[in-house]
């Protein structure tokens, strides 16, 4: 599979410094949230999924399988940028990361995915029934962590408010998963359908991360609202970039097989765009290929060739840049210290242009 837009040869922006800055705090919040021994034999699948142990319960040698912790980092950043007390955001940030991880465990069952972050998925190791309850348990652990914010000094009204924001967001998230499921059997999906689906499936939780961080720092609803908007556009940029990397990314950087999204007929942005724009023979080929149960190398190459002809990668990049600009504009009227403004720019640049 050789189709590679030239852009992917550049190294891309580095992970912004805020990720390293919050690592310890995020870990502290998560450690406080996840009970060490109370969950009987659900502990192991949960700690394994979080990247803390291997499948036999031995402590993980590296943090490589723990992911970037994007959502708690966004929460902490929003709180700090508005000069809030970071220690009050610990439980909330952990809660968001746990809810995200619960959704991944269930997602992997839904999609029958055998691997995530270079290792076997929970259901692949422990079976579907246990993976199902491990996900349910993690959601509850996440909810409890949010409520524990009260013990960190967050006023009860605010705890309820952030609980409502998070719960509302994960309700949107499951709606998005449901829409995504519906896409599997359809070929007539517009870019608008797609944007609505990702706004729910990915966008809602990313938006809520930023909004919750802001609400913990300020009582000003206009500011919280601007941060929520910022989060929505960030989420959109993040997901379209994710879909881009799923087709044109560098396997070594992303850790995901490059042609996997096409081979699995995933209705990610490039596929939706191609199905919407193709005409004539290209359209016939796409419809034929996407109606097959299995795709061979030749099918995958044909799909990539059609995407190239239609300029799908360029269009994906344009849409990402547009979302990045909207994210920038969402915070224009919010007063921020210079360091925070600079980090906002770094963050947007990273999410929109990252190679991993």
């Amino acid at each position: 599979m050789s189709s590679q837009p030239s852009e992917s040869h550049t190294p891309g922006p580095p992970l912004p410094g805020m990720f390293a800055r919050y690592t310890d705090l995020v870990r502290q919040g998560l450690t406080a949230a996840v009970p060490d021994s109370d969950l009987s034999d659900l502990n192991l699948p949960i700690q394994y999924h979080l990247g803390w142990t291997d499948k036999d319960g031995n402590l993980a040698a590296s943090a490589a399988s723990q992911g970037k912790a994007l959502r708690p980092t966004l929460c902490m950043f929003a709180c700090e940028a508005l000069e809030g007390d970071l220690t009050q955001a610990l439980s909330a940030a952990a809660s968001i990361e746990l809810v995200h991880n619960f959704s991944l465990i269930h997602d992997d069952i839904q999609d029958q995915d055998l691997e995530r972050r270079h290792q076997s998925t929970v259901w692949a190791l422990w079976g579907q029934p246990k993976a199902l309850v491990a996900g349910d348990a993690l959601q509850s652990v996440g909810d409890l962590s949010m409520l524990r914010s009260a013990q960190l000094g967050v006023p009860p009204e605010t705890v309820m408010r952030v609980s409502r924001i998070l719960t509302g967001a994960y309700l949107e998230m499951v709606e998005g998963q449901c829409q995504d499921l519906g896409f599997e059997s359809r070929t007539a999906i517009t870019t608008d359908d797609y944007l609505h689906m990702i706004a729910c499936k990915t966008g809602a939780l990313i938006r809520s991360s930023v909004e919750i961080g802001a609400v913990l720092a300020t009582d000003d609803p206009a500011v919280a609202n601007s941060f929520a908007k910022f989060g929505s556009y960030l989420g959109r940029a993040f997901q379209i970039r994710d879909d881009y990397l799923g087709v044109w990314g560098d396997e070594n950087a992303t850790g995901k097989s490059t042609d996997n999204d096409i081979r699995r007929r995933k209705k990610s942005f490039p596929a939706v765009f191609a199905l919407e724009r193709a005409s004539g023979a290209a359209r016939d080929d796409l419809l034929r290929i996407y109606s097959q149960e299995e795709l061979d190398d030749c099918d995958v190459e044909r799909v990539m060739a059609i995407m190239d002809e239609l300029g799908a990668s360029r269009y994906a990049e344009q849409l990402t840049q547009q979302s990045a600009q909207q994210a920038t504009r969402a915070l224009e009227n919010v007063e921020l210290p210079p360091w925070a403004r600079e980090e906002v720019d770094q963050l947007i640049d990273f999410l929109a242009n990252r190679q991993f």
Copy 2:
């Protein structure tokens, strides 16, 4: 399968009046909690599961498939018995019922059950992936309903407290599901293991229903604690009776096939008791039968004969009565109006001796 202890020929106690008294309020709380159109195509599976519509979305002709609404009834009763404001308990009671129903949707996936309450299960109609997200959505809808208690005038501190009680309870519930999964591959399970499992899987949510109703009515921790204990014993009596009916119940009354629990090698109380107590040839037979993938009529009859020899039904009834007495004692020192005391007795009698 003819083994029937004589007790099952009596009609059993009627459904206490409190169930009918709260029906409208419970329905009102549920209707406010479950959005009518916001969940895109998750609405139908959810409303169908709640017994509100048939699988095509037509309004259900009868309330037969809606179940007894035990948990919200318990919540309402505890609140009213302590002279609390019932309208403040609406959202909380609905929340508990929704969390219970979310767990049933996931349970049916786990157990691969095709029917519940005389109709097809959600996963059987819409497939596992959609049933999985429908369950997740229902949990979120339940969480949001609990938080909505604030709009009914419940103080924020109390909303957080009842949220914590419910979330803690469903965490216990999923732990119980996990223990129950573990039982499937084991034959060495003691009565204590079993009691611990049902205390989590069934007991925690029933206990929390009663406790939440009490907390909404009183600030006295000793009273709330007594109600929580009362709920624990009620839950134990309820589940052991359920297991009894799963083997010796009248199919027409329970709506469940009588030999189903044995045929599916379910480690319900009678099976656990038999496996724990049997010796000699009976023990060998049980171990052989419970190691088979499928049981024929002859196996089921042999298991029932062994249960009869060991007096499993009598022992199940003793254990139920013991739990019923403990439930009564738990409320002995709580001051209750005479009507409530009378209804406590009716409730205990019903749960411990019901035929359906």
